[in-house]
Structures are given as C-alpha cells and as structure tokens.
C-alpha cells in the first residue's frame, strides 16, 4: 500500500487549517478552474510528468470528455471514484483502429491532476465500436 510522504500530509493539513498568521488558512493549494473536469484518452502511456499522446479522429473531441456529475466527495480518507451516474463513452468513427493506453484527468483547461494506464492496455477499439469507462471505473486513492 502506498503512503503519502509526511511533508505532503503537512501541506494538505496546513492549507486547510488555521496555520496562517492571525488564524487564516495556511499556504493554499492552487485552485483549478471551476468548470467540469475532463477525462482524456491517450494512445501512449502517460507518466507523472507528462500526458500521453491524445487519440484523434471522429468520435473523439480533443481535450477529452467532460464529467457531467459530481463524484462522491472523499470522507475520512476514502477513495474518490469516477465517472458517476453514467459511463463515459466514445464511438470510434475515425475510419481506423484506436489503441487506447492511458487516461489523464484534467481541469477544464487541460491542467492534469491524475493519470492512469488502463488494465489490459493497449485497448484496441475497431472503427464503429465504442469504448466506455464504466461508472466507478477509475479510482483515485491516497492511502
């Protein structure tokens, strides 16, 4: 089981508690754009430092697909899962085969926050077929 570095734990605690001068919150985390976050699909493996190469073609909008509903917020350290309510779905109309390897979760402007490889990648999606990320198909965890 992975764990969070103690320094990272302190950053999170300080940003969300009255550790600033005069009892204000401590050093804040940088806010993400307050619009629906997106899941983008890649034909190469993302890494912690760089996004993968985004897939292209009819059926896929550059930048990824917006998440239309809120995920249940983390409580007592619980995981956050996505998507919620409905699966994310892309129908390949590119005329060729999609090879899907990884995803990136970004804010609406493309700032990445999380990434992951799809188990069993590359996932090959023939022209005319649909790739779906199931409800709760992606788990974000910090414990």
């Amino acid at each position: 089981m992975a764990a969070i570095d103690a320094a990272l734990v302190s950053k999170i605690l300080n940003a969300t508690s009255p550790t600033g001068t005069g009892g204000v919150p401590g050093t804040a985390l940088t806010a993400l754009t307050a619009a629906a976050m997106k899941v983008r699909l890649n034909s190469t493996l993302s890494t912690a430092s760089a996004a993968g190469t985004e897939i292209t073609g009819a059926g896929y909008t550059a930048g990824g697909q917006s998440l239309s509903a809120a995920s249940a917020a983390s409580s007592a350290g619980s995981n956050v899962t996505l998507p919620t309510t409905t699966a994310l779905s892309w129908t390949n109309g590119s005329g060729g085969q999609w090879s899907i390897v990884s995803f990136d979760l970004t804010d609406s402007t493309g700032v990445r926050t999380w990434w992951g490889p799809f188990n069993g990648q590359p996932v090959l999606v023939a022209n005319g077929n649909t790739f779906q990320i199931a409800v709760g198909g992606i788990t974000l965890q910090l414990t």
Partner: protein, 43 residues
C-alpha cells in the same frame, strides 16, 4: 474476459451493443503537476 459488473473499469462495445472486451478497475496516480501544487518546495 468476464468480470463482475462491479469490477469492470472499461469495456469495448460493438454497434449491436455486445461487449467485445472488458478490463478491471483502474487505479489513478497523482501527476507531477498535482504533487507540485501540494508540495511546491519539493519537501
């Protein structure tokens, strides 16, 4: 591959709605950008 519905992370569906292939849940990792936000000094 056949998975319980609660363990499916992704699936490929043909135009008739048949599941061609599916895979398990995906665990995400923090990006360097997010780590930088949380820990800008790299401590």
């Amino acid at each position: 591959m056949s998975l319980p519905l609660t363990e499916i992370g992704w699936q490929v569906v043909d135009p008739d709605g048949n599941v061609v292939e599916s895979g398990p849940l995906t665990i995400a990792h923090m990006t360097a950008e997010l780590v930088e936000q949380i820990n800008p000094e790299g401590n």
